[in-house]
C-alpha cells in the first residue's frame, strides 16, 4: 500500500526532504543484518509505500509540495535531484509568491479556498499513481501561517475528497521561546481544527529534538537541518516496513490503518508522541553495543516518567499500585498514564524480545484491556545502520504539559486582545477563537483525567 505525503510550508518541506532522504539511504544501505530475501522484501515494500518508479530508474517520491512562497520548494527540489538517488516529480508542487505572513487566518481563509482546487488536484494525481492508496501523511509546523492555516484547510479538503482514507498529520511544535510571536495563536487554531478532520496527530517538539541533538548527537552548533534529520530518523523508524503481529510473514500492507487501529481507540484522544532508542552520532555506532533487555527497560521508563530521551531519565517514577490509582496520585508522581502504546523493534534478534513489561495494566487507563492497549511490531531488518533500534509511539499524557502551556500562553495573549486585529482582517472572529480554545481545553481535560 502506498502513502502520499503532503509537505506544507517551510518546515513541512524541509522535513519532508529529510524523511525521503533517510528512507532512501536506509534501503540503499548494506547494513540490513538480515537475509538477502528479507532485505529485498523490505526494499520493495518501502519503495512501493513511498516511491514511484520512473523509466530513468531514479525513485520518485510520492509527495506533493505546497508553499505560499517559492524559495523553499525550489531548494527542496534541487537538493533532492542533486542526490542522484531519488527525486521529486517535477509536476507535484504548488507555489505562490506572497507567503502567509505567519497568519493562520491568511492561510486558512484566503490561500485555502483560493488554491483548493489546484492543490487537491495535485494530491489526486499522486493518489491515482498508487496501486492501492494507504492514506495521507501531512507534514507541517503549527507556528507559522502556511503549514498551520493552509495545512488545516488542506487536511479538511482531503477528508472531504477522500472520506475513506486515513490521514495522519505530522505536526511540529515550535521552540517554547519564540520562533514566531503569534505562534501560540496559530497553534491553538491549528490543533483545534485538525482535531476535527485528522485521524491522528503525530507530534514532534523542537525543544525536545534540540536536546537530543545537543546531548545525544553531540552537535555543537545545531542547525534546523540537524533537528530535521533527527525527526526524519524517528519517523523512518515508524514508517519503514515492519511485520505487524497478525501479519504472517509479509510486511504490513496497511501501515496507516494499523497505526490508527492500535493507537486511536477513541476519537477524543488523537495525540501521539514518539520516542526512539538508541540515538547517537553515526560515528559512534561501530563502537556501541546494546542488549534488548537494556533498551526495553529504558524505553519503558521513558514512557512512565515522560522522559524526552534516554539520558536524564527519572528512575524514581513508578506506576501506581493496582487498586490505588486515582488521577491525582498519578500527577503527584509525575507518572505518565497511557491509553495505548506501540513499540516497533528493528534489527538483530528481535523475535526473542520480551515486552511483557509494557503490558503491565498499571501503565494504562482503566477503560481498555491491556492486551488491546499494547501492540508490538518487529522486523529483523536493521534500520539506518543501528544494529538494534526501538521506537515507541504513544497515545498518553506525553503532550499534556506542553499543550497546556501553549493554550495558557495563547489565552493570556487573547485576554489582552493583542494581535487580534491581524487575524480579524482575514475573516476570523473572536468567537471562532473561543471555540478553538474550548476544543483544546476539552482535550486537556480528557487527557488530565486519564
Amino acid at each position: 500500500m502506498s502513502i502520499v505525503t503532503v509537505q506544507l510550508g517551510q518546515c513541512g518541506n524541509q522535513i519532508g526532504h529529510e524523511v525521503f532522504s533517510a528512507l532512501c539511504s536506509d534501503i540503499r544501505g548494506t547494513h540490513g543484518l538480515c537475509s538477502k530475501k528479507e532485505n529485498e522484501s523490505y526494499q520493495d515494500s518501502c519503495k512501493e509505500r513511498f516511491f514511484c518508479e520512473e523509466e530513468s530508474g531514479v525513485p520518485v517520491a510520492r509527495a506533493v509540495l505546497v508553499d505560499m512562497e517559492p524559495k523553499v520548494i525550489s531548494q527542496t527540489l534541487s537538493m533532492a535531484a542533486r542526490s542522484g538517488h531519488w527525486k521529486y516529480s517535477s509536476h507535484s508542487h504548488f507555489c505562490q509568491k506572497q507567503g502567509s505572513g505567519n497568519n493562520w487566518a491568511n492561510g486558512y481563509f484566503v490561500h485555502g479556498p483560493k488554491h483548493k482546487e489546484a492543490i487537491v488536484d495535485l494530491v489526486q494525481k499522486e493518489a491515482e499513481k498508487c496501486d492501492r492508496l494507504g492514506g495521507f501523511f501531512t507534514i507541517m509546523s503549527m507556528a507559522g501561517g502556511t503549514g498551520s492555516g493552509l495545512g488545516a484547510f488542506v487536511t479538511q479538503c482531503l477528508r472531504d475528497a477522500f472520506p475513506a482514507s486515513f490521514i495522519l498529520n505530522h505536526v511540529v511544535w515550535p521552540y517554547g521561546t519564540g520562533e514566531v510571536i503569534v505562534q501560540n495563536y496559530n497553534s491553538v487554531l491549528t490543533l483545534s481544527h485538525l482535531y476535527h478532520s485528522s485521524d491522528a496527530l503525530l507530534v514532534h517538539e523542537n525543544d525536545v529534538i534540540h536536546k537530543i541533538c545537543a546531548q545525544l548527537m553531540n552537535i555543537k552548533q545545531i542547525s534546523f537541518r540537524d533537528v530535521n534529520q533527527v525527526i526524519a530518523h524517528q519517523l523512518g523508524s515508524v514508517f519503514q516496513p515492519t511485520h505487524t503481529a497478525g501479519g504472517g510473514s509479509g510486511y504490513s500492507r496497511n501501515p496507516l490503518g494499523d497505526l490508527m487501529e492500535t493507537l486511536v481507540p477513541h476519537p477524543e484522544f488523537r495525540m501521539l508522541g514518539l520516542r526512539n532508542i538508541p540515538q547517537m552520532p553515526e560515528s559512534s555506532l561501530p563502537y556501541s553495543t546494546f542488549s534488548w533487555p537494556g533498551l526495553i527497560k529504558h524505553l519503558r521508563q521513558m514512557l512512565i516518567a515522560n522522559a524526552q530521551m534516554e539520558e536524564g531519565i527519572d528512575w524514581q517514577v513508578r506506576p501506581p499500585h493496582p487498586g490505588s490509582s486515582i488521577p491525582s496520585t498519578n500527577k503527584a508522581l509525575h507518572f505518565n498514564t497511557s491509553i495505548a502504546n506501540l513499540v516497533i523493534l528493528r534489527g538483530k534478534d528481535v523475535h526473542g524480545v520480551d515486552l511483557g513489561s509494557f503490558q503491565d495494566p498499571s501503565l494504562y487507563t482503566s477503560w481498555l484491556n491491556p492486551q488491546d492497549a499494547f501492540n508490538a511490531w518487529k522486523t529483523p531488518r536493521a534500520f539506518n545502520k543501528y544494529e538494534k533500534s526501538a521506537a515507541l509511539v504513544s497515545n498518553s499524557q506525553f503532550l499534556l504539559k506542553p499543550l497546556d502551556s501553549i493554550v495558557g500562553k495563547a489565552w493570556n495573549m487573547f485576554a489582552s486582545k493583542a494581535y487580534l486585529h491581524q487575524y480579524t482582517k482575514f475573516g476570523i472572529q473572536e468567537e471562532d477563537f473561543l471555540d478553538c480554545f474550548t476544543t483544546l481545553e476539552q482535550v486537556i481535560s480528557s487527557y488530565t483525567n486519564l
Binding site: 524559495k71 523553499v72 506572497q98 505572513g101 521552540y175 521561546t177 520562533e179 510571536i181 494581535y419 481545553e441
Partner: protein, 475 residues
C-alpha cells in the same frame, strides 16, 4: 518572489535611496557571480533588453542585460535627483522613475502635502501603476524620507495616503529620519508632527531614525578604526558606513556614511525575502509579529556588527557579542535605550553562518535582563538567512517594538508646543489652500494619544503579573 517597491521622497530620502541601490547592486554582485538574473535580483531590479531602447521588454531568465530599479524617485528640487542621473547609477534609472520639480517645498509640510500632492497626484498614480505592472507580485512599499522638511515630510506622507487608496492590500513600511533638537530648519517640529499623524493612521510599520544616532555610530567607527585598538586590519567593505566596492568612486559626501547605515538597514530587512535560509522571515511577517495593536507600529532598529576584522575565524564569543551589542544603547538608530523600557515584541533577523542553537543560546542569555509586557513574555520573532552581508560572515538586525520610542515623541511634542503656543510661522502654513488650524490641533492630538498609549503600557511594567483564569470545562 514577492517584491518590495521603494519610494524615495525629498532630498534626504533620495540621498539615502541612492546609497541603497548602490549597495544593493554591490550585495547582489557579491552573491551572483555568473551574472544570471535570478529571483533575488528581481526583487529590486527589472532586467531589460535594451536593444530596443529603454522601453525594451523584460527578460525574466538568463543573463543580466540591463538592470532597472523598481522604484520611484520623487523630489521637488532637482539637485539630488540630477546627481543620481549623472552619477554611476544613471543606467539604473530613467524618466519613468522620476517625478521632479524645481522650486522645492520651502521646508513647509503644507506645500509638499497640499500643493504638490494635488498637482502631482495623477502623475504619481500613473507612474506607480506602470511600475507595479512590471511586478509579478507586490508585497510591500517602502517610503524613505525625512520628517523635518517639506517634500519628504509633506509629499512623502501624501504618497503614503495614495498608496493606501490605490493598493490597500500592499504593506506600507516607512523609514523616517526624525529631526534633532538642533535641526537648522526652525519649522521642523511642525512638519514632523503633521507627518506623524499620517504615519499613525496610514503606515503599517515605521522605522524611525535619528541623525544623532547615525552620527554617533559614524564617530564610534572612526575612533575604533583609527585608534589602533583593533589587533587586525578592519575589512573596509565591512563597515556599515562604507561605500567601498560599490559604484561610487567620487568623493564621499558628508552624509554618505550616515546614509549607508540606513541603506544597510533596508538591505538587511529585506535579505530573508530575497535570499534563502533555514527560517525565512518575510516583510509581511514582520508586520504581523511586531504590531500587536494597530497604532503601536513604531520599531526601533539596531544593526550589528558595525565592522568586521580581517580574520575569518569567528569564535562563538564574538558571535554572542554581536547579540549583546544589538541591545546596547549605542547601536540603536534612534536615541533610545530599549533595555530599560518595556518590550511589546522583538524580532531578530540573523544573516550568515549562524544556526538556530546560536539564536536560542543568546535569547536565553539576554532574556533575563529585558522587560517584556506580561502578555508577551516570549515575544521573539526570529529569522535565519544564509547569505551574509558583504564583508561579513554574519550579521544581526534587531527590530524592537519598545516603549523607548516615547521620549523621542515627547520631545517632538515639546518642540512643537514651544512654536505653536506663540503661533510662530503658522501663517506660512495656514495660507496654503486646504490648511486650517484644525490640521494642527488634530495632529498634536494624534501624537498625544500615541504618547498616552505608551504611558499606559509603561505603567504596567514591573507590576504584579496576574494571568487571566482559563476556561473551565465540565468534566
Amino acid at each position: 518572489s514577492a517584491l518590495s517597491l521603494p519610494f524615495a521622497v525629498g532630498q534626504c530620502g533620495n540621498q539615502v535611496g541612492c546609497r541603497f541601490w548602490d549597495l544593493a547592486l554591490r550585495e547582489h554582485a557579491a552573491v551572483n557571480k555568473k551574472g544570471i538574473y535570478d529571483e533575488a535580483l528581481s526583487s529590486f531590479f527589472r532586467n531589460i533588453d535594451t536593444r530596443s531602447g529603454d522601453n525594451g521588454p523584460d527578460i525574466y531568465k538568463g543573463k543580466i542585460c540591463s538592470l532597472k530599479a523598481r522604484a520611484l524617485l520623487i523630489d521637488m528640487e532637482e539637485g539630488v535627483v540630477n546627481e543620481i542621473l549623472q552619477g554611476p547609477l544613471r543606467d539604473v534609472f530613467d524618466s519613468k522613475h522620476l517625478i521632479t520639480d524645481v522650486s522645492g517645498s520651502g521646508n513647509n509640510w503644507a506645500v509638499g502635502h497640499k500643493i504638490y500632492g494635488c498637482q502631482y497626484r495623477e502623475n504619481i498614480v500613473e507612474k506607480l501603476r506602470k511600475t507595479a505592472e512590471h511586478c509579478d507580485c507586490l508585497q510591500c512599499f517602502f517610503i524613505i524620507h525625512s520628517m523635518g522638511g517639506g517634500t519628504g515630510s509633506g509629499l512623502g506622507t501624501f504618497v503614503l495616503n495614495l498608496l493606501e487608496e490605490e493598493f490597500p492590500e500592499v504593506y506600507r513600511f516607512v523609514t523616517s529620519v526624525y529631526p534633532s533638537g538642533e535641526d537648522d530648519v526652525i519649522t521642523s517640529p511642525y512638519n514632523s508632527v503633521l507627518a506623524m499623524k499620517e504615519l499613525n493612521e496610514h503606515a503599517d510599520c515605521v522605522l524611525p531614525i535619528e541623525n544623532e544616532s547615525l552620527f554617533e555610530i559614524v564617530n564610534k567607527i572612526h575612533q575604533m578604526t583609527n585608534s589602533g585598538k583593533l589587533g587586525s586590519t578592519v575589512k573596509q567593505n565591512s563597515l556599515v558606513t562604507s561605500s567601498a566596492g560599490s559604484t561610487k568612486t567620487l568623493q564621499a559626501k558628508p552624509f554618505d556614511t550616515m546614509n549607508n547605515i540606513v541603506a544597510n538597514l533596508l538591505l538587511n530587512l529585506t535579505s530573508s525575502a530575497r535570499f534563502e535560509g533555514s527560517l525565512n522571515m518575510d516583510l509581511n511577517e514582520i508586520s504581523m509579529n511586531l504590531v500587536p495593536f494597530p497604532r503601536l507600529h513604531y520599531l526601533v532598529s539596531s544593526l550589528t556588527p558595525l565592522y568586521t576584522l580581517a580574520d575569518v575565524n569567528v569564535p562563538s564569543r564574538r558571535l554572542d557579542q554581536m547579540f549583546s551589542d544589538a541591545f546596547s544603547r549605542d547601536h540603536q538608530l534612534i536615541q533610545a535605550d530599549p533595555k530599560h523600557s518595556l518590550y511589546l515584541a522583538c524580532a531578530l533577523l540573523v544573516r550568515g553562518n549562524v544556526q538556530v542553537s546560536d539564536l536560542r543560546r543568546n535569547i536565553e542569555r539576554l532574556k533575563p535582563s529585558l522587560h517584556f509586557v506580561s502578555w508577551n513574555q516570549e515575544g521573539w520573532k526570529t529569522g535565519l538567512c544564509s547569505v551574509p552581508p558583504v564583508g561579513h560572515s554574519h550579521s544581526l538586525l534587531a527590530l524592537a517594538n519598545n516603549t523607548c520610542v516615547k521620549p523621542t515623541f515627547i520631545e517632538l511634542k515639546d518642540r512643537f508646543m514651544k512654536l505653536y503656543k506663540k503661533k510662530a510661522h503658522l501663517h506660512h502654513y495656514l495660507q496654503i489652500d486646504g490648511m486650517e488650524q484644525s490640521c494642527f490641533s488634530e495632529a498634536i492630538s494624534s501624537l498625544s494619544d500615541l504618547i498616552e498609549e505608551y504611558n499606559e503600557l509603561d505603567a504596567t511594567k514591573g507590576g504584579p503579573r496576574i494571568d487571566p483564569s482559563r476556561l473551565k470545562i465540565a468534566v
